[in-house]
């Protein structure tokens, strides 16, 4: 059974169709990178998968459980209990981090596990300390987000999502808001997660990173999947749109 299954997803904002007919599946332990030009619908796809947006057509399944579909012309969701369970399967790391500014780093990471998942405080603090160590931020536990650099904030955001033990982690352009120096430290963290076989779907503009880390790459263009396959297949693809996209990138170098 696939961890995530999205079938024939359609999404429109008012009259603008953003996703035409997207189908993708993610196996456990798989790392999928989604690349493509701006406006191709990459972020929208992620937001539909994480239920931040409703879909206008198609179905979404997590571990075989139907998470979203369309019934009677309206977006439909499962009942509260099952919905909460499904939502605990995934986490999302935002481009703009979205840390809680009035919470310390430690509290940002531990608050949801304690108050949402109702776990024991000691266990949560232990987990948080371990995650901070993994991120290389052990000394920043009591700092506030306003005192951290962008790269540090993003690593805290990743730790915050991981603290809830999701089965699959989505990344929406995690390094797009960071300058090249800070981008590296975040990519390293994601690479480490990949080595541990954390299931991940990453929307990114970092082509080399995508090529090195991903098991599967999806190239989206104008609301459809134009090319899909292993990194080698995709980067060697004959698709004219793909070549044009990659060509623009290398020109900017």
């Amino acid at each position: 059974m696939n961890l995530l299954e999205m079938k024939h997803i359609k999404k429109a904002f008012d009259d603008t169709e953003v996703l035409y007919d997207i189908s993708l599946s993610v196996k456990e332990g798989e790392i999928v990178a989604i690349i493509g030009p701006s406006g191709s619908g990459k972020s929208t796809l992620l937001r539909c998968a994480t239920m931040l947006e409703t879909i206008d057509g198609g179905e979404i399944f997590y571990l075989g459980k139907r998470a979203g579909w369309v019934g009677d012309g309206k977006a439909a969701f499962p009942k509260k209990e099952e919905r909460k369970e499904i939502q605990s399967y995934f986490g999302l790391v935002f481009q703009s981090f979205n840390l809680f500014p009035h919470y310390s780093v430690m509290k940002n990471i531990t608050d949801a596990p304690i108050h949402v998942q109702k776990r024991e405080k000691e266990e949560v603090y232990e987990t948080a300390r371990r995650l901070l160590a993994k991120m290389g931020l052990s000394d920043k536990a009591d700092a506030y987000p306003c005192q951290l650099s962008g790269g540090q904030c993003q690593r805290v955001a990743i730790a915050r999502a991981l603290a809830l033990n999701p089965k699959i982690l989505f990344f929406d352009e995690p390094t797009s808001a960071l300058d090249p120096e800070l981008t590296g430290e975040v990519l390293k963290v994601i690479k480490d997660l990949a080595a541990e076989h954390m299931t991940m779907v990453i929307v990114t503009h970092e082509m080399n990173f995508a090529r090195n880390v991903a098991d599967k790459i999806i190239f989206m263009d104008k609301g459809v999947i134009a090319v899909e396959g292993t990194p080698d297949d995709v980067f060697a693809s004959d698709s004219p749109r793909m070549r044009e996209f990659l060509g623009k990138l290398s020109r900017e170098g």
């Binding site: 939502q87 986490g91 979205n98 608050d111 949402v116 987000p145 999502a161």
Partner: protein, 216 residues
């Protein structure tokens, strides 16, 4: 009339002033939040009614509203009002008026919270009430504190409006003494009381602002 007598008279009136001030804050600060939720309601009938209420409260003089609260029940519905009603009318009038202003202040704060905060909270599994109480509200408090401070300082001075329905607090007493003794000294003393009260309010609010300054 000696200066110390004026001082003593006005000081006792000041007690009444402070009582109106405190009771109004106790009621209008939370009521403002309820009004905000009414304004933000998905039900058109509720949001339109609340917006209308806010526009009336902010669009007419507070003194006029006090007169209506006090004289309205008798002249409109022939209800016999007892002596104790005067204070009730004052607190009702002030609370509903200030709640409208606070509601708009709260709205400015709440609407300035980036939508990313709501989305992050949602992804982390927080319920709607958890999101509002733990994530949004604390940030809103810090943002609206200067505006709320402004309103509270205005309230200190607005208490003088109750003279219009013959409620005796400090300002009314100052007027009485000034008229009876044909002297302007009571006004200056009253002014000093108001000024000191406003200084205290500003100092307290600044202390709170500093405490919330542990993050930007």
């Amino acid at each position: 009339m000696g200066f110390d007598v004026i001082l003593r008279e006005l000081a006792s009136g000041f007690g009444q002033t402070m009582m109106i001030f405190a009771l109004t804050l106790v009621f209008s600060l939370p009521l403002g939040m309820i009004v905000y939720f009414g304004r933000a309601s998905k039900f058109k009938i509720v949001s339109v009614a609340v917006k209308f209420y806010i526009s009336i409260m902010r669009g007419t003089p507070l003194m006029l509203q006090l007169l209506i609260w006090y004289f309205g029940p008798f002249y409109l519905w022939k209800m016999n009002i007892g002596g104790g009603y005067k204070l009730v009318a004052i607190i009702l009038g002030f609370s509903f008026n200030y709640a409208a202003y606070f509601a708009e202040i709260y709205r400015s704060g709440i609407e300035s919270i980036p939508v990313g905060q709501y989305e992050a909270a949602r992804l982390l599994g927080y319920s709607n009430s958890q999101t509002f109480l733990k994530i949004i509200l604390p940030q809103v408090v810090k943002i609206v504190l200067p505006s709320v401070t402004n309103e509270i300082i205005t309230l200190v001075k607005d208490t003088s409006l109750v003279y219009s329905i013959s409620f005796i607090e400090m300002f009314a007493k100052a007027k009485q003494i000034a008229a009876a003794q044909t002297t302007v000294v009571p006004f200056f003393v009253a002014g000093a009381f108001y000024y000191v009260a406003c200084l205290v309010v500003a100092w307290v609010m600044e202390r709170i602002e500093k405490r919330l300054d542990y993050y930007r």
